[in-house]
């Protein structure tokens, strides 16, 4: 009984010692914690809409590159010049690296009961936080079904940035 108690006492002492170390480190770690709090959280702000412009309903694709260049088999070139890549601004702790995630699965945009799919999302984020924030672009491919109803189609997609 006495022996068991001793073992327990030793265990407690060891843990107490460990905790004490932690507490000691905590004084240091307090500094470290203070430093950790200085690290700015990563933030992301949406900018330009991913705008495919106007397309003929001949069936085909409209592609918006991260450079904002439009191509594809059914894009209207002259009548509707408005189009743009999506843009996002990422900010945080300068110099830290991050990963950007764009949709992998098809995203649907709708016009009433009609819909079209957007796939092949891509981005040109550098992966490293820069001072003042970095604006990167998102491109994708719109598939226009033949004879799909005319009108404006809208939808949303998610973009995530995370510190590595």
């Amino acid at each position: 009984m006495k022996q068991i108690f001793k073992i327990f006492a030793v265990a407690v002492v060891m843990i107490a010692f460990t905790l004490n170390l932690n507490a000691q480190a905590s004084a240091t770690v307090n500094n470290a914690n203070a430093a950790a709090r200085i690290i700015a959280p990563i933030t992301l702000t949406a900018g330009n809409t991913l705008h495919f412009g106007t397309a003929y309903n001949t069936g085909g694709t409209v592609i918006i590159s991260t450079a904002g260049v439009r191509s594809g088999t059914c894009a209207v070139s002259a009548a509707a010049p408005a189009h743009s890549a999506g843009t996002f601004t990422v900010a945080g702790e300068t110099g830290l690296t991050y990963t950007t995630t764009v949709p992998v699965a098809a995203v649907t945009i709708t016009n009433g009961t009609d819909n079209m799919n957007i796939t092949a999302f891509n981005h040109n984020a550098t992966g490293t936080i820069v001072a003042g924030g970095e604006t990167f672009s998102v491109g994708a491919t719109l598939t226009v079904p033949a004879a799909v109803s005319s009108g404006a189609y809208t939808g949303t997609y998610s973009v995530t940035v995370a510190y590595n």
């Binding site: 690290i39 809409t49 079209m116 809208t154 998610s158």
Partner: protein, 176 residues
Amino acid sequence: MTRPVKILFSLCLVLFFIPEAYSQSGQQFTVTGQIVAEVIPVFAASQSAQLNFGKFSPGSQGGEIIITPQNTVSVLGTVFHGGGMHNAASFYISGNEDAAFSITLPSGPVTLNHAGSSQKMIVQDWMSVPQQGTGTGLLQNGFQMVYVGATLKVGTLIDNPAGIYTGSYNITFDFN
């Protein structure tokens, strides 16, 4: 539970949860972007009916045959129109609902060639409904018919021997 053990558990809980809470703070950020696309029908034009002046006889002096866009026929000079098939031209224009478009008719005469000789006739004074001009066409419900008429200049029987005369012309529809 003894007092040291309680303290131990409490400290362990504190040590375990603080780093966990911190790791979820500010590590990632997700936002929603907007997507927009507009779809319009293909703007298209096709000829539904040929411009056909029908059968006629020039007579001694010749003259003119006028077909209006409304498909009424009138003659000038000694031309005798034999009736039968004649048509104003018609074109089917389709595209985006309520879109305006422009019509451009031939700016000058168009030549019709005789099938069996080098003789010719001239078609001129082109007219249409809707009228030629910028934005004069309107695709109500996504389509519109455009009707075209003109005047055929007919020479004498020597100038224009019997037979079939054919030719072609360009009419342009601009989607504004």
